[in-house]
Amino acid sequence: MKACEYQQITPGAPAQAPAPRRPRRKWEVFPGRNRFFCDGRLMLARQSGVFLLTLGLILSTTCLFFVFDCPFLTQHLTFAIPIIGGILFFFVMCSLLRTSFSDPGILPRATPCEAADLEKQINDTGSSMYRPPPRTKEVMINGQVVKLKYCFTCKMFRPPRALHCSVCDNCVERFDHHCPWVGNCVGKRNYRFFYTFLLSLSFLTAFVFACVITHLILRSQESGFLNTLKETPASVLELVVCFFSVWSILGLSGFHTYLVASNLTTNEDIKGSWSTKRNSEDLGNPYSHKSIITNCCAVLCGPLPPSLIDRRGIVEPEPLLPLTTKSESVSLGTKSDTSLDAACQDFAISCTA
């Protein structure tokens, strides 16, 4: 008989567990519709085409500005022009990248145990406190009644001012809006970066617009208008781009300045949640600090909470409890693998039974 090259299995030895898979980071199993880069350090919404357009427009216009307008203006006016342009461009890029790639304040979805516990509470207390679906819970905030809605995707009652973004499929804290131009939601953690981006971009656009016009005027005085257009065609392109963007960006900046001063989100403003015109009994926005300066400081310079989704954490393959619980869940008759979730599923089943 041919000698076969295989290892004999020693009887009585415990069955070898399958080779452990490479430990995965939490971003790899993230349930929302987001894309991650640099091993989970950066994140973006799934549809990022418009973000690339924004980036392209800003980069190309600024490059054209530095190549075609700056030399002339530095010669004829002052060398402060490229310096100011450079600083503004730096701020725009930093705040844009920061807005786009950071976590807007995503709330991680509830664990099965939590979801089961909530379900049990809702079923137990009956319809006196909670209404039948859509599930809501009412809380008093600073003397005003606020309704908290139950999120069926994330399986939790959303904190006040949190909303579920349908584009990214995540609940985001202090949800402002989903901005396709930055390719991300704007929420609690990146609102200040978004605001800085808007402000610096409006300054940059206005600055480039003014410089290009000055450039064209000065050059036309020297060589005539048509020759100017032939010499610097790029300036005309910059002019067109800046002209069309400056109004919308300035408008947005003004709008967001108003929102910051009254501590509102775009969503609340559009829906008119705290409008005092509807009902004279309403006290207005319960989150406002009743002073413009305090509101501005709180929104823009307040403490920055850390990301709750822990993108780079390792997914724990085993539960917190050691191997001894395996026999526990096996003896319970469940076929699920050794996971705390298995124990939780049992708990869930027993609660809702």
């Binding site: 905030i141 310079c301 920055l304 917190l320 705390l340």
Partner: protein
């Protein structure tokens, strides 16, 4: 219930049930937890100790989210450096969160583990809840915990099977 320290707890006890302390939104969106004493813990820990823990945690969170001179300075400095300062410096919030983890660990070791309870840091649950895991001593059957009946019965059976390990 036999006294356990943290390591012993993990080795010899089995998870019976979990209690979730929900957030208290009466002051606004600031992170605060309800101090209402859950009935499942009635037989396990003194009400005062529990309330003390939650109150201290709430105070820590108030400290983390405090808006005042130092947080404004941090915010303005960050803005002026185009937020690059966050690459080298830890934010005030993160510093307080570290203090909170240490506090929770200390509370677990001193107070909760000896009573068969374990507090999970809220930051691991998205700041939604304080999760308190109630453990049941494997050796004792028909224990005082309010776990589901299937767990207690198999807890006893499983305990017998594992004795030889």
């Amino acid at each position: 219930f036999q006294g356990h320290n943290l390591q012993e707890l993990r080795r010899s006890a089995s998870l019976a049930t979990k209690v979730f302390i929900q957030r208290d939104y009466s002051e606004g969106t600031m992170c605060q937890f309800q101090t209402k004493f859950p009935p499942e813990l009635d037989s396990r820990i003194e009400r005062q100790l529990f309330e003390e823990t939650v109150k201290n945690l709430n105070n820590y969170y108030v400290e983390a989210e405090k808006i005042g001179g130092s947080s404004y300075l941090e915010g303005c400095l960050a803005c002026a450096t185009a937020y690059f300062i966050f690459l080298c410096m830890e934010t005030h919030y993160e510093k307080v969160l570290k203090k909170i983890s240490k506090y929770i660990q200390e509370q677990n070791e001193k107070i909760y583990a000896p009573r068969g309870l374990l507090i999970t840091d809220p930051v691991e649950r998205g700041m939604r809840v304080i999760e308190i895991s109630i453990y049941e001593d494997r050796c004792s059957s028909g224990s005082s915990s309010s776990g589901s009946s299937s767990t207690t019965s198999s807890g006893g059976g499983g305990g017998v099977a594992n004795r030889g390990r």
